[in-house]
Assembly symmetry: none
Homo-oligomer: 194 residues x 4
DNA sequence: AATGAATGAGGGTTCATTCAT
DNA sequence: AATGAATGAACCCTCATTCAT
């Protein structure tokens, strides 16, 4: 007996997947459980996604996109000072992670932890940071021998690792202290020309 | 036909597991495959390890131990200058990762389901770095407002993320450039008192 | 190639299980064999029963229920004379066992691992018999020092043991002789010389 | 490194098997566990018994033999009165079951419950009881239409079922009440109001 | 006689995926 | 689009049994 759906089935599946992935970990969740939680039949799952990992990828793509948008918006209102921009960007990331902890964890955490920056999904994020470093080098405000791509990747690995650790137990540090540490360790600031 | 083994079955299983985990990823490897590659029967696997993840954990524990030992040895011969010590430690890590790429990837790399980045395996490694930072703070050579535990974790996330990325394609940067970047981004050096 | 079944899969599994349990014994039957005999895939088995013993329990519950119903029906048409009632009940049990030999054996027979004779399946059956004895005692027609629960259990152990033995080789005694023996040994009547 | 044993290995294996069978049930015990508990190597098990069930059978044979001996001894001192003999025999069985609860359960109980009297191990026990009934019939003291073999089997099924139930929770009835019930339900005597 | 590491067939169970409705 | 019973390959793990020592 087919039931017409008012809500979008795809959104329901994404929400169900996110919640289950975050709760149990990707490997402990199966398509049947996702469909059940979305109050849809398994078959419907496969009408929308080729398989479980496609759903995961979609969650990650959306999360990365939303995080980037949050960063862009925050940076835009931060003036031209590099430190202010870095602080705005890091602050946006921390706020985003706090507001969307499940999505952040599913996208960057656990089963992909450590190598958080691996894979096509995430490597995209590296570019804006690297470009920012390149601009600073061009302006003579950053050591020109620093490899911008490498430094960008290093920073993002750090940011992700730190935020995931903080999400596990936010009482460990205040949010501001966390942001301040990220700022201080940012290649654009910490590794000034000496 | 049961054949008593002269070679240690456990070592054979660890080697087989390491090789398969690195090649196919932990989730795509089963105990039968590990036993087969060790030229042992499945039952023998279970004589030595309670399950697949116990084997993985053993690999990780050994790897973390060996990496720490390499770091300690390198640091010991590096004098008292913080920068020289950091360079020695980072250099040892990079060299270790290069020499034991499989073990490094299996221990720190992506899909380490269950044994998360935040698990005991990694948090152990954090302590020496944090202690080093504390010593520098005590000596007035590092901003005392920096949270040493947070900074240590941040550095290690960065080191791991960077090295994993480099291992994927070592042609991206020279080994020395990599080490130099790690040094510059180290909290003990980059985030000096300003 | 998944084929939706018109016939009820659960019934097919119950029938297949009954036949195999009776033929080979519970411990020598596995879920794959049951599914195969029901011409279903193993997975379908687990869609309907959590495991092999749940299927067994279901068979037993149904058998005990059907046996009790047969007893009740037979007793109802037997008037008020205790001996006639006992004879009707025992006769119903023997007839039931003859008509559903496999179910009887699987439910009451030897290796019912886990679901012991002393389990809820059987103790349920004890109550009507014990209640009957209590009524006779209240009416002054049975030794009041006899423990009705104990006597009921004793009788049922006897009935089951005797019927199982008879089922193994029905040529050993005529059905009527069997019933007559059960009647004479029933606690409510006794095997006195008449 | 072979260790010479002072105690008889076979006895140790029998004791270990008995204890484990009683504790976990025959199907949940394996030869490795039995050998371990007997502080012997698995290989030694197979030097003494062809397999697990041979050990079980040996336990049962010994138990049945010992129980029969206890019965014979008790009956011998009970004079010639049928009721006294029956009481002595039943009393001996109950005492034996109490003193060797594990052996009694493993031999008659659980996985073989209900059909307790099945199998070559136990059917032997039927003969003395049947012979006693035949003697009573020859002496004109028991209904000659009663089938002695059937009645004997019925009585023993009852005795076993009742004793197993009692062993599960001896507080249910006093030992004497149990024996008295067995006596009253014995085919040779009957449970009539006296 | 005793040892015990090694064996590997076999059993229980899961779950991504299909397809007739 | 939606359904969900059915599928069956594949996995994890156990354990009776062997045999070189």
């Amino acid at each position: 007996m087919p039931r017409p759906r008012i809500e979008d089935a795809e959104d329901r599946l994404l929400a169900a997947g996110l919640s289950l992935f975050a709760r149990r970990g990707v490997e402990r969740v199966n398509t049947n459980a996702i469909a059940k939680r979305a109050r849809l039949a398994v078959g419907t799952f496969y009408k929308h996604f080729p398989d479980k990992h496609a759903l995961l990828r979609e969650i990650q793509v959306r999360t990365v996109g939303a995080l980037r948008a949050a960063r862009v918006a925050a940076t835009r209102g931060a003036g031209t000072d590099p430190e202010a921009q870095v602080r705005a960007s890091a602050g946006a990331a921390v706020e985003f992670a706090e507001a969307h902890a499940q999505a952040y964890r599913v996208t960057f955490g656990r089963e992909r932890a450590g190598a958080a920056m691996h894979g096509p999904v995430v490597s995209e994020s590296t570019r804006p940071t690297a470009d920012g470093l390149r601009r600073l080098q061009a302006a003579g405000r950053l050591d020109p021998t620093l490899d911008p791509d490498l430094a960008a990747r290093a920073y993002l690995a750090m940011e992700v690792g730190t935020i995931l650790w903080w999400l596990d137990d936010p009482s460990r540090t205040g949010r501001d202290g966390l942001v301040e540490t990220l700022v201080r360790l940012h290649p654009a600031l910490g590794a000034r020309i000496r």
